[in-house]
């Protein structure tokens, strides 16, 4: 379990990093916090010839909060964002579920997005908040929306020479309720089933925005579109939530593994989604009521 031999380039800026990636092409990998890449190298499942270490690149170590949303640079750790009180509680709650504090202290937000583990929280969060990533290469940059970023397990639309320079996680509407729930066998484990819900309702509790993102159950984090559609335009109550939860896995190609079969994930997952929707609906209700109260 020793790392294979590799060349090491410490990038002192984004420009330096993308230059190095341009020189080394597909043989180079970006080293952020190393929480996924280094174990894979130790197991010799990943054997890059060059590591471009961006962890100390000054211009990648910033994050910027705007109305609870955040744009986060490539070298910003999960822990930094998690402990920033200006960041929306949905985002912080989600980040706090990633591994253990030691992992979050080294691991980076953009690194986890680039790694695209199907059971990881961050790709699911990116979908749930309808965020985007900024990919930068020596020849230019582009912004990729969440829905187009992850293509499969550990597979993204990052091209050779490109770096996830930043990710934007917008805040959800102030009136929206949210919930993040996971089933994990131990504290800090990847979820057997995870769900992020965002629900926005009007004063009559009619739903006008529903986002239900499942993770840990399929080849990528996925939006449970059948459940979302079942809620849109409906009055959110116990019955509609239950019906939506039953549809959560419709059209989702659920995969099983050592820790839980596909059947387990569907059954426990449907109940988890129901609980998450309940919680999100409660929060949405609270927000609307309190805003109405504030106006009155």
């Amino acid at each position: 379990m020793k790392l294979p031999a590799f060349a090491y380039h410490r990038a002192d800026s984004l420009a330096d990093a993308v230059d190095a990636l341009a020189v080394h092409g597909p043989e180079a990998r970006v080293l952020g916090g190393g929480q996924s890449l280094l174990p894979l190298m130790a197991l010799r499942m990943s054997v890059p010839e060059v590591l471009v270490d961006i962890s100390t690149a000054a211009d990648l170590r910033h994050h910027e909060v705007h109305d609870g949303g955040v744009t986060v640079g490539a070298a910003v750790t999960t822990r930094t964002l998690e402990t920033d009180p200006g960041v929306h509680p949905l985002i912080r709650s989600c980040l706090a579920r990633i591994g253990h504090v030691e992992i979050r202290t080294r691991g980076t937000v953009c690194g986890s997005l680039a790694h695209a583990d199907p059971a990881a929280e961050l790709p699911a969060l990116l979908l749930a908040v309808e965020g985007s990533v900024e990919l930068v290469a020596a020849h230019g940059s582009r912004v990729v929306p969440a829905a187009e970023f992850v293509a499969g397990p550990y597979t993204t639309s990052i091209d050779d020479g490109e770096l996830v320079a930043a990710a934007t996680l917008p805040a959800i509407a102030a009136s929206a309720g949210w919930s993040v729930r996971e089933i994990a066998r131990r504290s800090g484990d990847f979820a057997l089933v995870g769900v992020i819900c965002v629900l926005d309702v009007d004063r009559s509790r009619r739903c006008h925005d529903a986002r239900v993102v499942l993770f840990g159950v399929a080849a990528t984090a996925v939006r449970a579109t059948a459940a979302e559609e079942a809620l849109l335009g409906e009055i959110v109550d116990g019955l509609s939530v239950e019906q939506a939860a039953e549809l959560a896995f419709t059209g989702v190609d659920v995969l099983g593994d050592l820790h839980g079969s596909a059947e387990y994930r569907r059954r426990a997952g449907a109940r988890l989604v129901a609980a998450a929707l309940d919680e999100a609906a409660d929060r949405a209700h609270d927000t609307t009521t309190s805003r109405a109260a504030a106006r009155a």
């Binding site: 379990m1 020793k2 790392l3 294979p4 031999a5 174990p39 197991l43 010799r44 089933i183 066998r185 131990r186 504290s187 800090g188 484990d189 990847f190 057997l192 050592l258 820790h259 839980g260 079969s261 059947e263 387990y264 059954r267 426990a268 109940r271 988890l272 609980a275």
Partner: protein, 811 residues
Amino acid sequence: MTLTDGWVGRRVRRSEDPKILLGRGRFVDDVRPTRCLHAAFVRSPVAHATIVATDASEAVQAGATVFTAADLDPLCTPWKGLLDWPGLAAGDQRPLASGKVRHVGEPVAIVVAASRAEAEDAAELVDVEYAELPAVVDPIAALEPGGPLVHDELGANLAFESWFGTKDEHAVDAAFAQATAVVEVAMSTARHTATAMEPRGVLAEYDPVARELTVRISTQAPNMLQSAFAEILGLRENSVRMLTDEVGGAFGMKAHVYPDEIATCAASMLLGRPVSWIQDRAESLQSDTQARDERVRAAIALAGDGTIIGLRSEIVSDGGAYSVYPRSMVTEGIQVSTIMPGPYRVPAYRSHLRVAITNKAPLAVYRAVGHPVAILVMEALLDEAARAVKLDPAELRRRNILKPEELPYTSAAGHVYDSGSHRESLERLVDRIDIGRHAAAARRRGTLLGVGIACFVEVTAPGVAFYGARGAPITAHDQVEVRVEPDGTATVLLGTPGQGQGLHTTAAQVVADHLGIPFDRINVLSGDTRTMPHGTGVWASRSAVVSSGAAAAAAREVKARMLAIAAHLMEVDASDLEIVDGAVRVAGAPDSRIDVAHVAEVAHWRTHQLPDDLQVALAAIGEYRGPNVTFNNGAHGAVVEVDESSGLVRIVDYVCVEDCGVLINPDIVDGQIRGGVAQGVGGALLERLHYDGDGQLLTSTLLDYLLPAAPDLPDIRITHIETPSPTPLGVKGAGEAGAAGAPAAVHNAVNNALAQRGARVWHQPITPERVLRALDEAADRLWPDRSDAPAVPRWTDPESEPECDQPEGDG
């Protein structure tokens, strides 16, 4: 400080801790002699195959040295652990696979280079061609005739078969025929491994001139390995030196001869240079001995008042590919069989055990060996029986558990329980569990609350009968040397080394009391077979018993010599003297005293003051003498909440009542219990080495082999009872008691919760999936696929099958 009450029994801080906590402990990987080379292994990626060809040319071109079986076999006699169990059959083990590989992770070639990283690089270049054979994976199917064979020369995959229990087999039939209630369970436990924090490792240094081999090794039995390595490598025992300082956990897993460790020594012998091999976690999960792979059907017969009248069990133990030397592959299965009656009056018991050979890593002893499975099955039977006869589970146990006046008691399986507090342990446990306190929280969270109890007995400090008398280099009479230095401090040399469990601290407490000098003037050393007295290692919860017994014997002898010298110096009779807190004084006249340091100075340097015939050597070796075995006992209680929507189990309270006789250091015993409970909880809820249908090991990292961590465990509340044992100091072993009872208590608690919905689980680990499925099926919400429950053996007719005498055992 005046210490009239003595050091034994105090919560003394562990003398081992400062250096370990400050990073100054010396583990195998901390030592790097000059010219040291590093080894990595090419291991089999498949479960069962013929080795067609091995091509190491690229690795050699890259600068590494590669040895295969052809290179090492001439240096090494093959080995296998047979003991002399009647009919036990096993295949030979060699340092590197020869001809065939028989489990994933079996070493095929050793690659030696200037660093471990280079050795791993070169190992990737070794090309081994395998012709795969069908793998023997299911231990019950393995026993059917006509299937593939793990060892062709054995003609079958049955390693061992025996009946245990009451001699009169008809007594059991009669009991079941007249029973008011009969309850049967079919259960399994999953393969675990010890996952010691310090993986295995060897630093072998062969001196070709002196023909001496020095082996720094992470082991729990250095003297046993000295003998075994000498035998296998053809060296004299006094030319083999085993060194071990700190050992980062062993748990029974480091008590065996391992092929990779012998191969590392052989490589040093061939190269004439030091060779270091430090195992990594992937290797640990593949190649450490494994345990707890048991499938059991059992039934209990009760009279109308809940009295147990009969018990039977049918056990298939999955022994893996080889029978480890010297302990063999059968100890666990035998103890599943013979411990099952536990602390209860079971008048008639028959048990049929078969040990299967499969294409998995060898099965061997792991903390509490067989006890966790035996206790799990018995306690599950009792809970089912309590439901059947509508008695409170504690009351059913109360009616059957041994009372003090029944001791010593010979169990239906032949074990002699020498002493204990079986009934009192149960009562104290019941008193400490306050279920009402948890009910409100469970209602608030909408979970199912369950409480489970489990009573246990456990083999500790066994004598020569189990291993030595059966031909293994393992016995019971460990030695300890105590010597007093010229300044009156004392040095204690232990034959059995510490493993992190605080043995140096407890030995010093015992010597302090028996020598009469303060704890902090005593330095304890262990771990060098060249200079230390002989010992047989840490196993079966024995080291506190045997080390304290031998240390006390040595200290008494040295004290007698000091008293004789002091008597001369003080011109009084030795029988009027005592040594208290470092001073020799006249009993009843504490002002008439001289310091031990003065006695020691005279004994070393001023012997002209003494008569010629007085012994002046203030050093003696004591040996352990004790009964064949002493059983500890106690009871575990778990309170769990089961989440019906996810199947997750959370332990909300845990109580252990433990009686290990006289406590030398309650803090150390508490630590032993907590660690053992953690391992037992791991077994109940999390740990499973998962081999697929082709014998491929899927749990290859700690991301998949799930160990419990602090957040997954409840506070563990401990109550001690001290019933002295017939050992020299009244001490019993304590190291395995936590692991022995925890799986049963947790399992019973889960089933107590599930029973509210008419559901049960029967297989460990109790995964959320198994729980959810049981709940769904009890509510007629059937699942489409087959469950992952392992097959459990059917009953076998007791014909004229081989039968074994009852052993003492390995805790």
